[in-house]
């Protein structure tokens, strides 16, 4: 098997119409050895140069960087880059998921697995609801294997919603997405996570990248890739399976994981606090995922 490697550059550029006296940011853009991928190199830089920058591992095990800039500035560029080997990312659920899905539901657990509990409870943006449960039970019929049920749920979510950039934003709730019938990958992921939790199956939100292929005959353009989000189904004992309802496929070697949380709010690629009189800020995000 040929090694699959990607070089990723993720550049976030803020421009303000008045000086910012201080910026504080938290960045979840650091891939690590998880989900079968191996991170060969990674770094985060910012301009202006942060007077304080520190990397640590968060509650969920993800690397995260804190940075603060205390000199007045009117633009901020945060650039993360990495080299990741994704050869080992599985394209199938694996044998354990052949067990019936009820086996994985926390409702039937005798001994609490804290990860399972954490990822099956309601989280800030994803709560189990009867509406989501109804959707889930279409795929989660009694005795069915977790792999089959999850794959069908993934297709169901994929079919039920139209991918439409700009139709939602980070504040859109699941109910609104359900009513709207459209959304972006974050919404697809949240809906599917909500469905899984509604039947007691622990599931997480994965933030990362996906390699885009240029249309046939065209050259690869730079800066046109995007960050992506998909779903991780918890299989117990620290094992997860990645599945992408936006594209109705397993999150295989074309995917790169940067962070896993209960939902988007645990792992936004970049969040921050600034102090400024600026009324407007212009934000440009450029992502390049280049086969290496």
């Amino acid at each position: 098997m040929v090694d699959v490697k990607f070089e990723v550059v993720h550049r976030t550029h803020y421009e303000y119409d008045a000086p910012v006296s201080a910026s504080y940011a938290q960045v979840h853009q650091l891939p690590w050895d998880v989900d079968g991928q191996i991170c060969l190199r990674r770094s985060i830089t910012a301009s202006p140069l942060p007077e304080h920058q520190r990397e640590r591992v968060d509650y969920f095990g993800n690397p995260v960087a804190f940075l603060s800039i205390d000199d007045p500035h009117d633009e901020l560029i945060v650039t993360s880059s990495c080299l990741v080997d994704t050869t080992g990312r599985p394209t199938r659920f694996g044998p354990v998921a052949d067990l019936s899905w009820e086996y994985f539901s926390v409702r039937n657990a005798s001994r609490p697995d804290l990860v399972a509990v954490d990822f099956s409870l309601d989280s800030p943006l994803v709560a189990a609801t009867p509406r989501l449960a109804d959707m889930a039970y279409e795929a989660f019929t009694p005795g069915r294997s977790l792999a089959e049920a999850s794959s069908e749920l993934c297709s169901l979510v994929h079919r039920s919603f139209r991918f439409k950039p700009g139709s939602t934003d980070v504040t859109t709730t699941i109910d609104e997405v359900l009513d709207l019938g459209e959304g972006v990958c974050q919404d697809f992921a949240h809906v599917m996570i909500g469905c899984l939790r509604s039947v007691g199956v622990p599931a997480g939100y994965v933030s990362g990248y996906l390699e885009t292929e240029p249309p046939p005959g065209r050259e690869r353009l730079t800066g046109v890739d995007r960050t992506h989000a998909w779903v991780s189904v918890y299989l117990g004992d620290g094992n997860w399976a990645g599945i992408d309802p936006t594209n109705d496929q397993m999150a295989g070697p074309r995917y790169i994981t940067t962070a896993r949380g209960r939902d988007y709010s645990d792992v936004p690629p970049l969040k921050g606090v600034i102090y400024t009189d600026a009324e407007e800020s212009k934000l440009t995000v450029e992502v390049d995922v280049v086969p290496a």
Partner: protein
């Protein structure tokens, strides 16, 4: 002897038969530890007890003790109410409580350490993991953070009720940022002043060790390697419910009271913005709920915290007490599992058991709760998840069904508690002692590996015998709590025991925001005083001349009225389109200039702004300040009801206000240390007085008038500027403009003159610059000197020249001088006060992450 005083306050005392009473035993006899005290209250008699009850109210008002409750009118202060009669516990009873509270604190500390560490309690199932993992107060971002102290839970409070069998039960745990210890000490201060003999004879245990221990533990909480830690008390601000207490505790501890905006995160640590520099902060005693403490990692909208605070605690650069995340211990469902935890973690049974509780997340418990719902108190597990405690016993059938449905829909979020009828304790009413349900909050503070429990606490008593919550919000009355000692204590004041104090080295740094408020306190109090003086003069002239429509008197009165509008900048007033009507009948407008708080420039507005500044400065000002502020508030409130045709009443009120303002000025002059804070207030006062004097002179004397009118006007100006006596003594003539200008502008010896203000500013700003180590050329001082130079270069004879009926030279001099003064004020602000830019969240991509093949 009057009938009232002979009446026995206790004779009629009849507690409910079923319950437990603190004062009287079942057989009707006075409990033994109460016997001597009961006699003392009987000896005092009702009349004296009621007189002392008044005294308590006065003392509380004078100390400015409030508990803030949100109200519609925007002034949320509710005076603190304190009963005359303490809750009294014998030393034996207390020993059980003390042991129980300390034990609970130890136990909760172990739980806290585990929950933000290995979480074995959850993985082993000692606590159902949902309870913690689903609680919004469990802060995942605080995982793995710990304080250098042996105990992580530094301050703990237990809400307790005594059941009918005489045993105390814990109703709830306070671990987020427990309030009440400061109020308890304040209660003690007042009761011991009002009942000195009774208090002395009772030999109640002292509360001082609590604060002393808190201070020692805060010091011990400093990051390792820090020898003389810098410690601050973090408050949400003056609108917080317990703002009084935040300032009180800060003052007792001797640490600065700060708001989030006073702090800044730089180089990975936390600093306090002071006027001269930023100084590192090592320990934060927080009175802000954890969620609000860091907009970066917690609630993004919060402006009460510091971005990056969590990160700074993570690296150990700063210690936050109680640690962020401690609020999870308040989860009501946790209480259900405490007995097992006690056995598992410390191998003991709880000495102070919790009220019997059932977590509805367990099916059998939920059935029990639902089956007995009408005899339950139902609580949401976490306060942050919304909803409040519900006494199901008072609900209607429909309401019960609704509650049942709510619990059924989300059982894990609910806890049922058995109802406990709190024991009654005597509350002093106008007729004597009344038995009223009473609860007690007890406080513990970590001391090394153990806990010190405050020998007393904050007791609260319902006003009526009815059931219902006994909380400050619901209007309960506070009580001092006396623990009777068996043997005499060794006395030690707050400052007396074993701590090295070197005052000179430990002057608490002055936060920039406090400095700015001091400056505005100076400006507004001076502005109020100037307006009051001017309005008094005008009132006087009205009495003399209002009935006369022509001649110098009428001209002078009209000039004074228009000057009032100009000096107070309350346009249009006596110079606008409606001027003719208002000049003919000025009463209403003049009253409005005193009482209308919504109108900029009025006396009421200046005093209102002054109050706002004082609220923020609670920890900076002498306690006597509240004496003056309280009386001023009273006067302003009375003003609201005055009708404008009662000008005699207006002048009485103006005199009263002036008296208070002078008292305040006297207090500032005589009771405040000449530190930075004082310098800023003084600078504000001087600038404002200079502005007021120049405005007054400009408004009254730039127009040339015939001598009789001019003399009247000049005399009024001198009176308003509090210089008339000096003038008469010095010049022995009727008032003339040239000599007036000498006295009010140029005389360096007249404390009301422009020159005097500039000289004081030169000294004051110079002192502030010296402290900051800055160069005069680059600071406000250069502007002060320019103004002095301009004044020195001006010949007063030139100023009085008249052309076209006007003193143009005087007008342009004053205009130029005012420009200088405003420039000085701005420069002081720019030199010393941090202007914080508004806080925003960084925007996130308008198109969220998205990709589809």
């Amino acid at each position: 002897m009057t009938i009232a005083s002979s009446r026995d306050p206790i004779q009629r005392y009849a507690p409910p038969e079923a319950g437990r009473d603190e004062l009287v035993a079942r057989d009707g006899s006075i409990r033994s530890h109460w016997a001597r005290l009961a006699d003392s209250y009987r000896d005092l008699g009702m009349a004296e007890l009621l007189r002392r009850r008044e005294e308590i109210a006065v003392l509380l008002e004078q100390d400015g003790v409030t508990y803030n409750v949100a109200t519609d009118d925007g002034r949320p202060h509710r005076p603190w109410e304190l009963d005359s009669i303490p809750l009294v516990l014998s030393s034996d009873e207390w020993a059980t409580v003390e042991r129980g509270v300390a034990q609970r604190a130890r136990l909760l500390d172990l739980a806290l350490t585990d929950l933000y560490g290995p979480r074995r309690l959850l993985s082993r199932g000692s606590i159902p993991p949902d309870i913690v993992l689903e609680d919004p107060s469990f802060l995942r971002v605080c995982d793995g953070i710990s304080l250098p102290t042996q105990r992580q839970l530094v301050v703990y409070a237990a809400d307790m009720t005594r059941a009918s069998d005489g045993n105390w039960l814990a109703m709830g745990n306070r671990t987020q940022a427990p309030s009440g210890a400061g109020y308890a000490i304040q209660n003690r201060n007042v009761i011991s002043k009002v009942f000195p003999a009774i208090f002395r004879n009772a030999e109640a245990m002292r509360l001082a060790p609590f604060i002393r221990t808190l201070r020692a533990t805060l010091q011990a909480a400093a990051p390792s390697g820090v020898e003389d830690p810098s410690i601050v008390v973090l408050t949400p601000g003056p609108l917080s419910e317990t703002a009084f207490e935040h300032a009180f505790v800060a003052t007792q501890l001797g640490y600065p009271l700060v708001e989030g905006s006073d702090l800044v995160n730089r180089d990975g640590r936390v600093w306090l913005r002071t006027v001269s520099e930023i100084v590192p902060v090592d320990v934060i005693l927080r009175r802000v709920d954890a969620w609000f403490c860091d907009p970066l990692e917690l609630l993004p909208e919060s402006t009460l915290g510091v971005p990056g605070l969590v990160e700074a605690t993570r690296t150990g650069a700063v210690s936050v007490v109680n640690p962020l995340g401690s609020g999870v211990l308040e989860n009501a469902a946790l209480s259900v599992f405490l007995p097992e935890l006690a056995r598992a973690l410390i191998g003991e049974d709880l000495s102070l058991p919790s009220v019997e509780s059932w977590w509805c997340g367990h099916a059998t418990s939920m059935s029990h709760v639902l089956a007995n719902l009408d005899s339950m108190v139902v609580r949401p597990t976490s306060r942050r998840r919304g909803g409040s405690t519900i006494d199901a016993s008072v609900l209607s059938k429909t309401e019960l069904e609704e509650l049942r449905a709510r619990i059924d829909a989300d059982p894990r979020s609910w806890v049922g508690q058995s109802r406990v009828e709190p024991a009654t304790a005597p509350l002093l009413s106008t007729d004597g002692f009344d038995p009223r349900p009473t609860v007690l909050r007890s406080f513990a503070v970590a001391e090394g590996s153990d806990y010190l429990v405050m020998t007393g606490g904050l007791a609260r008593t319902a006003r009526t015998p009815d059931r219902g919550p006994i909380t400050n919000r619901s209007g309960a009355v506070a009580k001092d709590t006396w623990v009777l000692s068996t043997e005499p204590e060794t006395l030690g004041g707050f400052w007396l025991t074993g701590e090295p104090t070197s005052a000179a080295e430990h002057t608490a740094p002055l936060p920039s925001r406090a400095a700015e408020n001091m400056f505005w306190l100076g400006r507004y109090s001076e502005r109020a005083e100037a307006a009051v003086r001017l309005l008094r003069v005008v009132n006087g002239r009205r009495t003399e001349f209002e009935q006369i429509s022509e001649g110098p008197g009428a001209e002078a009165l009209a000039a004074l009225l228009t000057a009032v509008t100009r000096v107070t900048t309350t346009f249009p007033g006596f110079v606008g389109d409606d001027a003719a009507r208002l000049l003919a009948d000025p009463g209403e407008e003049l009253l409005a200039l005193v009482v209308d708080e919504s109108r900029p420039g009025t006396v009421a507005q200046a005093i209102g702004k002054m109050f706002d500044a004082v609220e923020v400065l609670r920890d900076q000002l002498s306690v006597d300040t509240w004496l003056v502020i309280g009386s001023m508030q009273g006067r302003l409130e009375r003003l609201g009801s005055i009708s404008h045709d009662r000008d005699d009443a207006v002048s009485t009120v103006l005199n009263g206000l002036l008296e208070s303002l002078l008292a305040l000025a006297g207090l500032m002059a005589e009771s405040m240390v000449r530190d930075h804070a004082w310098q800023f207030m003084e600078a504000g006062r001087r600038i404002e007085r200079a502005l007021q004097t120049t405005a007054l002179v400009g408004a009254l004397l730039t127009v040339d008038r015939e001598p009789a009118a001019e003399s009247l006007i000049a005399e009024s100006a001198l009176t308003a500027a509090e210089s008339i006596i000096t003038y008469r003594r010095r010049y022995r003539s009727h008032a003339q403009v040239d000599t007036l200008l000498d006295l009010l502008l140029a005389d360096p010896g007249n404390p009301r003159s422009l020159r005097f203000q500039l000289d004081r500013l030169e000294e004051g700003v110079g002192a502030l610059d010296a402290a900051r180590g800055v160069d005069a050329d680059a600071s406000a001082l250069s502007k002060v000197r320019e103004a002095i130079g301009m004044l020195e270069d001006t010949e007063s004879t030139r100023l009085v020249t008249v052309s076209d009926g006007n003193r143009h030279e005087l007008g342009s001099f004053l205009w130029e001088m005012r420009r200088h003064l405003l420039g000085i004020a701005d420069a002081i602000g720019a030199d010393n006060f941090t202007r914080l830019l508004p806080q925003h969240a960084m925007s996130t991509p308008s198109e969220p992450p998205g990709w589809s093949t």
